[in-house]
């Protein structure tokens, strides 16, 4: 057993930097200032994340963390089972928005992200691990155009590898702290562990409601579940990581967390709407997956409250049918539309977007440029078309 943890350095390979593997069409949705700032960090973010995964996925790293007690036979499995399914998620994403947020926070405080690469890598690794778990509970066959983790290695293996990568941050923070102080490492670990746990509570509602067979949940209960589900890994946790790694005070960190939470709620509500009604008005190849999966979203709950009883009953029937029939999916959307559920959901989403902007305005402790970049980032997230 290794009693003393030796800090090691992450060496990002800038040559592997990133713009070759993703479509950058989304950059047109960003303000020029934001896209410039984003592109400045993209190469560093991607190479840091991949270098970290490579390091943690090596036999030598495992030997180090378990005092040499690693069976040689594991070598043949390591890349195939432990690293490749996870790395494939990271490589498919490309955007690296979460590491970018971490860099943004650190730079706002004059901290150099390259001196604490672990904080940058963490945000994306946790997000990707959570996607592996999401794909299991949603039984999704595809993720970003490629096979989901469990279709490659099985439900249990994918679950345990996702759990390990999700918790890899704890090992990374202790072994690769970079310029982070002991206190910052402890604060990060404490916050990450809380976020991991409350995400389970939020997800509980998401997965248990469709099994209960009734739809009379309150809209505010859905919002509460969103606070502890999608808000975490999307924006609240990356902003917390960035703030703590930047050396922000407790009070300032709380502001970043509030911003992430509010943005996460806005994002989820808009995502729910776009899933059923894309901004361009056209359904693509995959449509209304939320209805096919029987998801009970804010839209569904609002429709259940507003629609005539027979229409509500019909909507419930379609949700329980787990159907891909376009006519039925279209009928469900039409029921939600005609009773004003979309309009009501948009109003609620708008309130949260407004709150998000107000929080950014109140972050007087940040230099103007960074407040502007955060505001632009909020606009980018809430105004995307799909």
């Amino acid at each position: 057993m290794s009693a003393v943890i030796t800090p090691i350095a992450i060496t990002p390979n800038q040559d592997t930097a990133a713009r070759d593997t993703f479509s950058d069409s989304f950059l047109t949705d960003m303000s020029p200032e934001l896209s410039t700032a984003y592109l400045e960090t993209l190469g560093f973010c991607k190479s840091t994340v991949l270098a970290t995964v490579e390091q943690i996925g090596s036999l030598s790293f495992l030997r180090e963390v378990r005092g040499g007690h690693v069976p040689q036979e594991w070598e043949s499995l390591l890349d195939d089972v432990w690293v490749r399914p996870f790395r494939s998620y990271l490589e498919r994403s490309g955007k690296m928005l979460r590491p970018f947020l971490v860099c943004l926070c650190m730079k706002a405080y004059g901290r150099d992200p390259e001196r604490s690469p672990v904080a940058v890598a963490l945000a994306e690794m946790i997000h990707s691990a959570s996607l592996l778990l999401d794909d299991i509970v949603d039984d999704s066959e595809l993720r970003r155009g490629g096979p989901s983790g469990h279709t490659q290695v099985g439900i249990r293996v994918s679950g345990t590898l996702a759990s390990a990568w999700l918790n890899a941050g704890f090992e990374m923070l202790q072994r690769m702290p970079g310029a982070l102080s002991e206190d910052e490492v402890a604060r990060l670990m404490r916050e990450i562990s809380w976020e991991h746990w409350v995400t389970g509570i939020g997800t509980t509602i998401d997965v248990v409601w469709p099994t209960l067979g009734h739809f009379d949940h309150a809209p505010h209960e859905y919002l509460q579940s969103v606070v502890h589900r999608s808000t975490s890994y999307t924006y609240r946790l990356p902003l917390k990581i960035g703030a703590i790694a930047a050396g922000a005070s407790e009070e300032e960190c709380a502001k970043f967390a509030a911003l992430g939470e509010e943005l996460g709620i806005s994002f989820q509500l808009i995502d729910d709407i776009l899933n059923l009604k894309p901004a361009d008005g056209h359904w693509g190849k995959t449509v209304a997956e939320d209805i096919t999966e029987g998801k009970i979203t804010l839209l569904v709950l609002l429709a259940m409250q507003r629609a005539r009883p027979e229409a509500a009953q019909r909507l419930a029937y379609i949700l329980q049918a787990r159907t891909r029939d376009r006519e039925l999916l279209s009928e469900a959307v039409s029921i939600m539309d005609s009773c004003g559920a979309f309009e009501a959901a948009r109003r609620i989403a708008h309130e949260h977007v407004e709150r998000t902007h107000r929080i950014v305005e109140e972050m007087h402790f940040l230099p103007d440029r960074y407040r502007r970049l955060l505001a632009d980032f909020v606009n980018y997230v809430v105004n995307r078309s799909r």
């Binding site: 057993m1 469990h150 562990s193 509602i205 209960e221």
Partner: protein, 340 residues
């Protein structure tokens, strides 16, 4: 015997566990462990989606001792016994002084429960082919309960530890790392099992076992006891190493004694064993290399006792009693008895 038996400590801890995670949660509990509600919880949803399934496993799963009595909470019970032995200045048992570490003890139990919840599932390529022996819960719910239990354990240590300062931080850090280590071990174990990989020799199998739930959990139990008793660093390290070896020995004995008897053991013991062939080509699950388990287990037991001895006679006594009470007997006699 020093102090109370594992069974007594398990019963005491069981009561404390139910105080920390009540069978019926309310808003005060959620506010304490999660956060004050911004919009309002669906309490009924969380009850049926998390707490009820959690207690289904708390109530159903334990460790069979001698195929008869069911000792639940074996990890926390061992930790209690060790804390009591190392911390008390006399023979009088001060249960409250031990149980004040209930956050740490609960974390240990949650971690073990979380792993057991998923033991009965198959490694299918979709949910429909992974249901395994699970008949009551939809898999997305079961998987989420297991996930939540594990992560609650880590969060509880960061936020509710009875230890203070650096000791609290060190234990929380080690526990958080444990989730990572066990995740890797379990991933490679399952994948290796599916591919029927072979171990080269007994040492390789022993190294493999070191990444299992039990060695990792008993390490943490020992680290908690060391922190609670304020042991010096070298004694703490000896105790933690002994904990890992105790976990390996216990694991080996259970393989031999309860193999194939999942109802008795509470786990499907045949599952991870599938890949553990040794040189010579005989699969462990086919019965012949029982000797391999016995010899690895016996060596680990010896090392565990030697490690505990370095800490002092009380620690050694607790380890001895653990092996006796859990019938972690790795002698040929037990082997024959079970065979018969």
């Amino acid at each position: 015997m020093h102090g109370q038996s594992l069974t007594t400590w398990a019963a005491r801890f069981g009561q404390r566990f139910e105080q920390r995670i009540p069978r019926r949660i309310d808003e005060a509990w959620l506010t304490r462990f999660v956060d004050a509600p911004r919009f309002g919880w669906d309490m009924a949803g969380l009850q049926v989606g998390f707490i009820d399934p959690l207690y289904r496993f708390v109530d159903a799963h334990g460790t069979t001792v001698g195929g008869q009595a069911c000792l639940r909470h074996v990890r926390p019970a061992f930790a209690c016994k060790l804390i009591d032995a190392l911390s008390s200045r006399d023979e009088a048992v001060d249960a409250e002084a031990v149980l004040r570490f209930d956050a740490e003890l609960t974390a240990l139990e949650l971690h073990a429960l979380s792993s057991m919840m998923l033991d009965h599932l198959d490694n299918g390529r979709n949910l429909a082919t992974s249901q395994g022996a699970e008949r009551q819960l939809a898999l997305p719910v079961l998987i989420t309960v297991a996930y939540s239990a594990r992560q609650l354990a880590a969060s509880m240590l960061w936020r509710e530890s009875a230890l203070v300062g650096k000791r609290a931080r060190a234990l929380a850090q080690r526990f958080s790392r444990l989730l990572f280590l066990q995740g890797i071990g379990h991933t490679l174990d399952l994948a290796g099992g599916e591919r029927i990989l072979e171990h080269g020799d007994e040492q390789a199998l022993e190294d493999h076992l070191r990444w299992y739930l039990s060695p990792l959990d008993f390490e943490i139990a020992c680290e908690l006891a060391a922190a609670a008793a304020d042991l010096p660093a070298d004694a703490a390290q000896a105790l933690i190493g002994a904990g890992a070896d105790l976990g390996i020995a216990w694991q080996c004995a259970r393989r031999v004694q309860f193999r194939g008897d999942s109802q008795a053991s509470g786990q499907r013991l045949d599952q991870p064993v599938r890949w553990s062939r040794l040189a010579g080509g005989t699969s462990l699950c086919e019965g012949a290399p029982r000797e391999a388990w016995l010899s690895i287990g016996a060596r680990a037991k010896e090392r565990a006792l030697a490690g505990a001895r370095k800490v002092g006679p009380r620690a050694e006594e607790v380890f001895e009693e653990f092996f006796t009470e859990t019938r972690t007997d790795l002698s040929a006699r037990i082997d024959m008895e079970v065979s018969a």
